[in-house]
């Protein structure tokens, strides 16, 4: 894994309303807090959070965070076509980008910083599209090491009702498994 998380690191999680990117941002923020880091989570709110492209941003830092919003993301996740079209452009040379396989037909992967994975399809395989955010978070974190694996897993499980625990554990494992496909590809 060649991605070295900056400090502070700016993370932008995007998708379509219903894919749980807002919750994913909160989970990531909680995991970072468990790791003893400072964190700010913001989100696009209102109609956007329910329909069309939605966005959740997390800044993680070992120091005090003054400006609370992401300027240019260091890590970007796009789970839907809408989100891809709206947010993919906004990145720097070293931005680590994880895309769902279906967000675009364009050959955007560079084998270095931009990757595609069948995140949504994996969630459906695991059992329900509702866990797409957990699959995505687990994969993204396995590739970037934004937070510790233990904290992320605990943050996920704290958020879900007991009866969905197994489903989410399976989703988490599936996400990490997905990441190994890319891990091998990274030179």
């Amino acid at each position: 894994m060649t991605f070295v998380a900056r400090d502070p690191v700016q993370v932008r999680l995007t998708g379509t309303g219903g894919q749980g990117v807002i919750t994913a941002g909160i989970i990531l923020a909680e995991a970072a807090l468990m790791d003893g880091r400072n964190v700010v989570q913001t989100q696009s709110y209102g109609p956007e959070a329910r329909l069309g492209a939605s966005k959740s941003e997390v800044i993680i830092s070992s120091r005090k965070i003054a400006y609370p919003q992401v300027t240019v993301p260091d890590v970007l996740l796009c789970l839907s076509e809408d989100a891809f079209n709206k947010y993919f452009r906004d990145r720097h040379d070293d931005t680590f980008v994880l895309l769902d396989s279906n967000v675009t037909d364009e050959p955007v992967e560079d084998g270095r910083r931009v990757f595609k994975l069948p995140i949504v399809a994996t969630a459906l395989q695991v059992g329900h599209k509702v866990v797409v955010n957990v699959v995505a978070l687990a994969a993204l974190n396995a590739l970037t090491g934004l937070v510790s694996q233990a904290s992320l897993k605990e943050a996920v499980l704290r958020r879900v009702p007991a009866r969905f625990r197994e489903l989410n554990e399976a989703a988490f494992a599936a996400g990490e498994e997905l990441a190994t496909m890319v891990g091998e590809a990274i030179p």
């Binding site: 909160i26 964190v39 989570q41 400006y67 609370p68 300027t71």
Partner: protein, 373 residues
């Protein structure tokens, strides 16, 4: 050991209110303040307090004032359109010297505007929104822990000065989550509601400590100009009332002022900010300082009564004052007045619904000051 919590701005406001002893909330749902109401709906009944979803914002503020006169520590929260409707009640609270707290999470306006975009366009309305000269205290906050503390401060100041206190938040801060140390019981001062002493000789309910209704002192509460027992007056006694209730706040600007000053001592330029804009302002000032530029930061948390003294006492080295705001120029007018020509005052406004960036603020300072260290 104290642990940190990830907390949303609106959550911090609701829990700050509960920390301060708030036991009555009435409100009407409106973005971006609704989470405050939802938390109060969940928390108040199980703590023995009262929650009311009112039919509109006018009823909300009216019920809050009624509850305060019943003896409750009462609050409502809203956003611009609802805040406009509440102005009538705020005036009534001001003339009846009713302790109460009104939270306004500002969104882009006027009118329905952009409900999910942030602004600082309600500053002048918070200060001057209701008709007639009147007392009000206006507070604001810039980060989540601040929201908690300033909500507690709002209740305390409402008690101390018997005035409506407006706490201005904004859409970004309301919905933002940060890790904070939640204050433990006893960590922050909470000023309790005064109660009439049993058996003591009744004192007039206006001009002294607050006396709730129904504790054996029968008086009148009215929005009319009134005497110390709450009965209508005209002419000189009305003037005395107005001067007293306004002066009790205006004369205490120093005591009411909450602010943070950074790097002012040798500053050639000062960025004066409040609310969410204090975040990019801080980033900008830190960046400029690291380049060696003599720039200071003054973050206001009390917007009214305006802390004139801070500007009168600015170091003589200051030649330039920048006031970044998410509006077309509101508090800058007060800053300009208080600076009184001792330095050049400039406004930097952003009104597209997004937060000013550190680069925008730093850039403007450099444009005016140059890169000269």
């Amino acid at each position: 050991m104290k642990t940190q919590q990830l907390m949303q701005g609106n959550e911090a406001c609701a829990f700050g209110a509960l920390y301060a002893g708030c036991n009555f909330y009435a409100g009407y749902p409106i973005t971006p303040s609704s989470e405050i109401m939802e938390i109060m709906a969940r928390e108040l009944p199980r703590r023995g307090g009262v929650f009311l979803q009112a039919e509109d914002e006018i009823a909300s503020i009216s019920a809050v004032i009624g509850a305060a006169w019943g003896g409750a520590r009462a609050m409502t929260a809203t956003s611009g359109p609802g805040f406009s409707l509440m102005q009538e009640g705020i005036g009534y609270a001001a003339i009846t010297e009713t302790p109460c707290v009104v939270v306004d999470s500002q969104r882009w306006g006027p009118s329905t505007g952009q409900p999910t975009k942030a602004a600082q366009g309600d500053v002048m309305q918070a200060i001057w929104g209701t008709h007639g000269d009147h007392p009000v205290i206006v507070l604001t906050a810039g980060h989540v822990r601040d929201v908690f503390e300033m909500t507690v401060a709002a209740f305390n100041l409402a008690e101390l000065y018997r005035v409506p206190v407006v706490l201005l938040l904004d859409e970004i801060l309301s919905h933002m989550r940060e890790n904070i140390f939640v204050p433990e019981p006893g960590e922050l001062e909470v000023i309790p509601r005064s109660r009439p002493v049993n058996g003591a000789k009744p004192v007039a309910p206006f001009g002294g400590p607050f006396i709730p209704l129904g504790y054996g002192v029968r008086f009148s509460v009215t929005g009319l100009a009134h005497d110390d027992w709450g009965f209508p007056v005209e002419g000189p006694p009305a003037e005395r009332l107005l001067r007293r209730i306004v002066e009790k706040v205006w004369s205490k600007a120093r005591e009411i002022a909450r602010y943070e000053a950074l790097y002012l001592d040798d500053a050639r330029a000062v960025v004066v900010c409040y609310g969410i804009v204090s975040r990019p302002a801080e980033s900008a000032v830190e960046a400029l300082r690291s380049e060696g530029l003599k720039v200071g930061l003054l973050t206001l948390k009390t917007l009214w009564p305006f802390p004139d003294f801070l500007f009168r006492e600015l170091p003589t080295t200051v030649e330039y004052v920048l006031v970044p705001e998410l509006n077309l120029g509101q508090l800058v007018r007060e800053v300009e007045r208080a600076v009184g020509g001792r330095a050049r005052v400039e406004h930097l406004g952003r009104v597209d619904g997004y937060l000013l960036t550190p680069e925008q603020i730093a850039g403007r300072v450099v444009e005016n000051l140059g890169r000269r260290v």
